[in-house]
Amino acid sequence: MTHNTDTSVKTEGVWKIFQTDGLSIEAVRDVSLVIGAGEFVVLAGPSGSGKTTLLNLLGGLSHPTKGRVWIADTDITDMSERELARMRLERIGFVFQAYNLLPVLSAKENAEFPLLLRGVAEEERERLVSELFEKIGIGGLEHRRPSKLSGGQQQRVAVARAVIGKPALVLADEPTANLDREASRALLDLMVTLNRDLGVTFVFATHDNELMERAGRLIHLVDGEISSDNKQVLR
């Protein structure tokens, strides 16, 4: 099978079944989709519809029970944990609902963490973080600990960490869920800008109506299955 190199992520007949107390829970059921490079995609659906599980499968954070997953032209389905870690480091950025910053590190140290894992030199890391922080409006906060930042600022640091390594794909799980309306809108503007300026592919899982409205493509999930998949004008 060949794949278009413009494909950012692709799934084919993917299932994820959890075994809990002797019960089989089908969190994702037979999902096949192709997300192109540079798309701004929202996965929407009620709680328990399988958004986060699908996001984890797309990011190689968990293995599918059935089916296959590709990142660009690389089949990641049967990769070892070590290979998946390498792939995540080089190609994927993550933004989590609960920010998930390391509390003992400063904002700068959190943001540069993927670069540190890649072995980028300190001066280069410093320069990239400084530029990105200015760009996303948190310049001057480099040395603050996460506990000294607002929710919006923490989520911007998390976004900076996700995009600083120039990944092909950023996966964001409810990135605006813990933010007020103003901070949420500002973060959304930032991600739209990064999508346009850097060509980064964004895939969100969200309940946020504003995010859904501004998405370039809206995929609805119900009971682990895709119920609708519509392209719309990115705003």
Partner: protein
């Protein structure tokens, strides 16, 4: 643990020093046929200068601190109507004090060379109902078949704590005993050497034996480890027990530290899951946890050194003598005082430091592997 090993080492060391420091010494040189019968005729020194020459060769060995000649005889010691059998030990007072504690008097002083003076064990003194400056009669079978006897003045009382010694040993000048038992002045039965570290006795024995053979002396050189096998075996047993105890303590410590590390890594599982999600390799997580454990081990080591080293040094130089409370006790023919004295050879210190670091790193291995095998998606979504 370090203090405990230090105290055990101190006790073993005291036992060996006491066991070898009274009569046995750490190295003995005899005529090849002298042991085990201790015949009065089996002597060293067939020529007038032999003994001085032997002493010179022995004292040239780097481990030897001092050496002393001895003559032994059996006899009877009488005071009034009381008569008891005794082991007569002829000594060179100036040399003997350098090699054994039997020459350290509880009361009085050592007999002087050339004078009819003797020192007795305290128990023998009691049995004879005699005191310092009293006169006693010694009777001993002589080498020429006659019966030697003479009158002696008691000038010293010794007390080793070993009933067999305190109840039978009589010290007198070597020349006087030679005369009493009709032995030529150049003939002796034994040379005893005192060395720096008792555990080096066999090595020193081998060196001395080679040197003496090279100079044409057909003599028997024996270390305390073969002269007192029961003492050597007891010391080895005590030492082995101490190592077994150390292994048990460190094994228990591994479980304790492992439990703490498991709890610590469990509390930080979200952090590890995040690092894995961001692309940290599982092996990197293992290295990170082990490095932290190693760093904690180093800190513990530093704290341990600060806390225990002063105790080790203090109790080495100022041992706590509990004999006033508990008295003394005898182990395999050796009198041991309950003295809290530490010994801290560098090998022991390096071993315990290495064992501590090995313990914490070993204990951290399982938690590290668990942390590296976390499923990031499950942990980050709280599943």
């Amino acid at each position: 643990m370090v203090v405990m090993i230090g105290l055990a080492n101190g006790m073993i060391s005291q036992m060996i020093n006491n066991g070898t420091g009274l009569v046995t010494g750490q190295i003995q040189i005899h005529s090849p046929q002298y042991l085990p019968d201790r015949s009065v005729y089996e002597t060293l020194g067939s020529h007038p200068n032999d003994v001085e020459s032997l002493l010179g060769i022995i004292e040239r060995d780097p481990a030897v601190i001092a050496a002393a000649p001895r003559v032994f005889g059996g006899g009877l010691v009488s005071s009034g109507a009381a008569t008891f059998p005794a082991i007569l030990m002829g000594i060179d007072p100036a040399r003997e004090v350098e090699v054994s504690r039997i020459a350290v008097m509880k009361e009085g002083r050592l007999p002087l060379t050339g004078s009819n003076e003797i020192a007795l064990g305290s128990t023998l003194m009691d049995w004879l109902e005699t005191n310092l400056n009293d006169e006693l009669v010694l009777v001993a079978p002589a080498a020429d078949g006659s019966l030697g006897n003479d009158l002696f003045t008691v000038v010293g009382i010794m007390e080793s704590g070993i009933p067999e010694i305190d109840g039978s040993y009589v010290l007198l000048p070597i020349d006087v005993l030679q005369s009493l038992i009709a032995l030529q002045p150049m003939r002796i039965h034994e040379i005893v050497a005192h060395i720096d570290d008792p555990w080096d006795a066999q090595l020193a024995t081998d060196r001395i034996s080679i040197e003496l053979q090279r100079d044409g002396y057909a003599v028997d050189v024996a270390a305390w480890t073969s002269l007192r096998p029961e003492l050597r075996e007891y010391a080895q047993l005590a030492s082995g027990t101490q190592w077994i105890l150390a292994v048990i303590v460190f094994s228990m410590a591994i479980f304790g530290v492992a439990n703490t590390m498991i709890m610590a890594t469990f509390e930080r599982r979200r952090e590890f899951a995040l690092m894995l999600a961001l692309g940290a390799a599982p092996s990197g997580i293992i290295r990170s946890v082990l490095s932290e454990a190693f760093a904690l081990g180093l800190l513990s080591l530093a704290a341990g050194v600060v806390l225990t080293f002063p105790i080790l040094v203090w109790w080495h130089h100022f041992p706590l003598d509990l004999s006033a409370v508990f008295g003394g006790f005898e182990i395999v023919g050796t009198f041991v005082k309950p003295v809290l004295k530490t010994e801290y050879p560098w090998a022991m210190i390096f071993f315990t430091a290495f064992a501590l670091l090995l313990t914490v790193v070993t204990a951290a291995l399982y938690p590290a592997v668990r942390a590296a095998r976390l499923a990031p998606a499950d942990v980050l979504t709280g599943r």
